[in-house]
Each structure stands twice: as structure tokens, then as C-alpha cells.
Amino acid sequence: MKNIYLDNNATSQVAPEVTEAMLPFFKDLWGNPSSMHYFGGQVRKYIETAREQVAALIGADPSEIVFTGCGTESDNMAIRGAAEAMGRDMQIVTTKVEHLAVLGPCRLLKEHGFDLVELGVDPSGQLNLPDLRKTLSGRPSIVSIMWANNETGVVFPIDEIAALTSNAGAILHTDAVQAAGKIPINVRKTPLNMLSIAGHKLHAPKGIGALYVRKGTRLATFMVGGHQENGRRGGTENVPYIVGLGRACELAAAHMNREMTTVAALRDRLENGLLASCPDTMVNGDRSHRLPNTSNISFQYIEGEAILYHLSDIGVAASSGSACTSGSLEPSHVIRAMGVPFTAAHGSIRFSLSRYNTMDDVDYVVAHMPEIVKRLRALSPFVK
């Protein structure tokens, strides 16, 4: 059977180069980097190399990188840490289309007495910047706005957002879990305070993340009880995974220019092919400001989970924003915030590609999708 993986925004294949870089740290170099002997001490330099590799991907100084356990931890550390350091005079500002790893901490802070503003998006999934400016003018703010959306791939105008927040004297955190490694990020040019990265979205394994913290950003310590990471995140370093993340960032930086065109070409071939071969389909999200690897397509009048099972039967892995797959009874909060009509919301499918996909993969999906759509529409009471 085919094995075509088009769900890279959920998690991505660990690059063979990354696995190889990690293996010595399971076999020989397993010492504790804090130890006062050669055996542990020799490991420390590899952590610092990885820190440089992560920093280089986003234009940061290595001292501004904190290794964490995952993207969710990075988001929690940034938002809750800033709130704790700054106090309740701050309002929290975010958007309705953030990942739950951001909405969760923001809503928790609301329960703890902080004011929370969740900005809406237009039908293309874009923010209204005058709304943001107005929100910022009222109060000192901690702002968390994603760089790119995980479901639609829509990229927010983060440079303009950062200009607004820095003019207003607000703290800006951005969840760049989907953007990092896929599109250029340069924190020297974008005046933001904090930025989250998750290893497993850029071909490192699960269980490792990073938070960029700009020098001078006030942040309460989230994980106390250890001197590691300059006291900002206690706990013995996850050395193999840190090394893996470093290598993955190095690879991403090296591949990025090429991938931005090759992966985007495959994505466009898939998207245009499906729009042409399947009637009553539409793309969700701003197609001109989008990650190169993501396409979110609604197949009207049919339901996402049913589509995914049929795709899975022919060896294709994708995901859906339908109610049945979002783990709740309503379609994804991102699709709903964009005001996608119910006829299309339940049938939204996300295809997310990577450097490991080929033209054959894409052509196979385009060739087989019409049959799946036809079968399900033949069952649907809403198709005339």
C-alpha cells in the first residue's frame, strides 16, 4: 500500500541526519552536562552548539534561547511567565485562531483575574490591525499572536504587529511553531520579545522545544529548582533531543530557500488539482499569505472524518477540522472564527507537506480524491 504522509503540521518525520546526530548521546556521551568531571563536562559543548544552531535559524543570540520540553511548554512559559512578572495591571491580548497551547494559558490567566481580549479574524483568516492598535492603546498589554496558523497556514503580518506592540510598549510573544523552519524568521528585524519553537514540526523528534527570550524581557521562572538554562528552566538537560533540535534547525536553515519553492510548488499542484477535479470545493485561508506547505480545503456537503478514513484506506494521511475529529462536537475554532459556513466547515481537510513529499504523492491524491468525494456525496442528503 501507498504511504503518503501529508500531515506535517501535526508532526513530521525525524530527519535521518537528526537521528544520526542524536545517537552518540544515547550510546557514549550520556553524562550529565553539569558534572564536575570530564565525562559529563564533555557533553556541555554540544548543548551550546545546538543553542547556536537554533539561534541562527531565527537571527537570535544563543544566550536568548531556552530549551523546553515542547511547543506547549514554550507557550506556557512565555505567557504565564510574563504575566507573573508583570502583574495584573497588564491585559492579555491574543486571537481567536491561536493554538490551544496559547488559548489555554490565556484563558487560565483570565480565570486568575487578568483581562483578556481575543481578537477575531476576517473570512480569509487575517487580523484587522486597526483593531489591534485600538486594543493596545487602552492598557499595557501582554500580546500573544501566532506567526502562522497550524490549520490554514495563514501567515500573520508579524512585522507590522511587532511594530504596533513595540510602539505601544507591549510585550509580544509569538507562537512560531508552524513557521520556524518553513519561512524566514529574523528576530533582529522583528521587534518581538518571545518566540516558541517545537522540534517535531521541523523534523526533530517530539519532546523538545525552545523559547526565544529577547534580552531584557521580564519573565518569571516557570520551572524552578535547577540552575540549568541560566536558571530559566530547571531540570537536567535533555541532551540527545537538544542536539537533535540543533541539527534540525541547521538543516531547516540550509534547505529553506529551496523548500519554499519546491514544497510550495507541490502544494499548489495538489491544491489546484483538487479544486479542478472535485466540484464544490474551496480553499480556507488567505492564499497569498500562507506557509508554503499547507493547504486547507473544504469539500462541501460531506464530513471530514469520513473523508480521512477513506484517504487512510488508500494510504494517505491528512487531518480535518471537522467536529468528529476535533474531539468536540463543533468544527475547529479556527474554521469557525473565519466564519466558514457549516456546509463547508465539517468537510475541511488539511494537507500539510514536507521536503519528503514527491510529485507522485501529490498526483496520487489528486487522482483518487474525486472518487472518495463522489462516494460520500452519493450518501449525503444535502446533495441535490
Binding site: 456537503y301 472524518e305 462536537l329 463543533e330 465539517h346 450518501l379 442528503p381
Partner: protein, 282 residues
């Protein structure tokens, strides 16, 4: 992926009796696009107008909604209308070798469509859904009667279960308190009908306190913890139980309601009818 049985996957991949019957004797349509699943069921009776001779369906929904519809049509083909009217959602789920708990509402959708189709045949009414009684869940349009019925037929004991079975409470969540009351009412009825409640024996003070603590640990605290709250037993003075709320409950505005409707109700049920629960104001 969901843990679907082979039978669910078979009926999903190869649905039986798909389509439309021209000049059907009964047509039932339930659900909507907004809800994420919808089912239209049509049947034709035999020449003597006794048994279901032909039955077809159209479904918008997930794999288990399609499988439930397909299974239902296979089950009731050849049945008299009286027999078909006896089919419960549990029968549909059992026929499929079970459904994941979160997907039980698919089987309820099947039973509702069948009822609507039978009602359409016997009354001639074509209302898509007759809302009898008070609507409790406005997001998904579920009435008190429907919630009572799935609770009773499936012996449900929590609001989350009700949501899994008929979606009520799965939208904005504002009706969850109301659903909780219905679940509680049905549970009391069920217990009253099964065991003619054995007279509680007389407890010593120590036994009473231990039973109160055990009831709180087993029945009450897990429920509060789901919402991020907790409760602690402070003291027991004759029939007065002094408690203190923790976590989210400590600054929850409906803590008073929780105290009466949850804590006191449970303690009265499991320990003694005369207990009075008070919040520790010290």
C-alpha cells in the same frame, strides 16, 4: 483514529441500502449540517402494509454515523412497524459490536430518524423534528424529554455521557447544570425502582464521619475536580457537615448551588437524609 470495530468499518466502507425511495410510505429526517450529522430515512411497507419491505438512507456524517445508518436499515428490514418502534440506540450500537462512547450519538440519530419516519407514516406529518417539551440545549436543539430518554435507556450517570449520546451540552455548555439535574433525577428514579432502598442502619459518630469522607472522595470530589475545583471536609457536628471549597470552587459564584445540589444531595443520598451542609466561614 477511533477504535472502531470491524463491523463499523465494514458498514462505513460498504454501506447497505443507500439511496432514495420514490413514493415512500414513511420519511424521517433528523440532524442538520450545523450539527455535523444528519440522516434521512425512507421506508416502503409490504402489500399488506404490515412489514418494512424496503428501507433506504442518506447520511451526512462521520464514519460511525454512516455505519449506524447502514446497520439500522439492515436491522429493521422485514420488521413490523411495532417491532421497529422497539429498536433502541443501544440495539444499533450492539449490532455494530459497540461504538466509541463519544460516538454514541450516531446510534441515537438512527433511532430518532426511524421514529420520525414511523411517525410520518402514521400521522402524515412531515415535521423534520417535533420538539416536544422544553428545549434544554439550544446549541443542538435537544429537549428535556430526549435527554431523559437517552439517560434512562443507556443508564447514563454523567453530563459528559449525555453529551456523547445526544450532543446536549456539547456547544456553549450553558445547559450543563440543567442536564446534571435531569441525570440526577433519572438516577434517583432508577435506584428507587431497582432496589427498594434498604433502611439505613444506625451509624456511630465515627462511622458517620468515615462514610461522609468516603462519599466525598468517591462521589463528590472527582466531579468538582473536573472543573478545576475541590472540597475539603472540615468538621461534622451532629447532622451539620462543615466543608470548605478549594481551587476553582473557592471563588466560584455558583459555589452555593454546588454545595446544595451536589455536596448536600450526594451526602444525603449516601449517608443520611438529615444532613445539613454548611460552608466553613472561619
Amino acid at each position: 483514529m477511533w477504535d472502531y470495530t470491524d463491523k463499523v468499518l465494514d458498514h462505513f466502507r460498504n454501506p447497505r441500502n443507500v439511496g432514495v425511495i420514490e413514493a415512500a410510505d414513511g420519511v424521517g429526517q433528523v440532524g442538520s449540517l450545523a450539527c455535523g450529522d444528519a440522516l434521512k430515512l425512507m421506508f416502503k411497507l409490504d402489500a399488506r402494509k404490515e412489514r418494512i419491505a424496503e428501507i433506504k438512507f442518506q447520511t451526512f456524517g462521520c464514519a460511525s454515523a454512516i455505519a449506524s445508518s447502514s446497520a439500522l436499515t439492515e436491522m429493521v428490514k422485514g420488521m413490523t412497524l411495532a417491532q421497529a418502534a422497539q429498536v433502541t440506540n443501544k440495539d444499533i450500537a450492539d449490532y455494530l459490536g459497540g461504538l466509541p462512547e463519544q460516538k454514541m450519538h450516531c446510534s441515537v440519530l438512527g433511532r430518532e430518524a426511524l421514529e420520525a419516519a414511523i411517525a410520518n407514516y402514521s400521522t402524515g406529518k412531515t415535521d423534520k423534528k417535533i420538539l416536544e417539551g422544553k428545549v434544554i440545549c439550544t446549541c443542538f436543539g435537544v429537549t428535556e424529554e430526549e435527554i431523559e430518554r437517552v439517560t434512562r435507556e443507556n443508564k447514563l450517570i454523567s453530563v459528559d455521557q449525555v453529551t456523547n449520546y445526544c450532543k446536549a451540552g456539547g456547544g456553549c455548555g450553558n445547559c450543563r447544570k440543567d442536564i446534571e439535574k435531569i441525570v440526577e433525577r433519572v438516577r434517583v428514579q432508577r435506584e428507587a425502582s431497582t432496589a427498594s432502598a434498604a433502611k439505613p442502619r444506625r451509624l456511630t459518630t465515627l462511622q458517620k464521619i468515615q462514610l461522609i469522607q468516603a462519599t466525598m472522595d468517591r462521589e463528590i470530589r472527582p466531579m468538582l475536580k473536573k472543573d478545576g475545583g475541590d472540597v475539603e471536609l472540615i468538621d461534622v457536628l451532629d447532622n451539620r457537615v462543615i466543608i470548605s471549597f478549594r481551587g476553582m470552587c473557592a471563588h466560584c459564584q455558583s459555589a452555593e448551588v454546588t454545595m446544595k445540589d451536589v455536596v448536600q444531595a450526594k451526602l444525603r443520598e449516601f449517608v443520611g437524609e438529615d444532613l445539613q451542609v454548611e460552608e466553613d466561614k472561619a
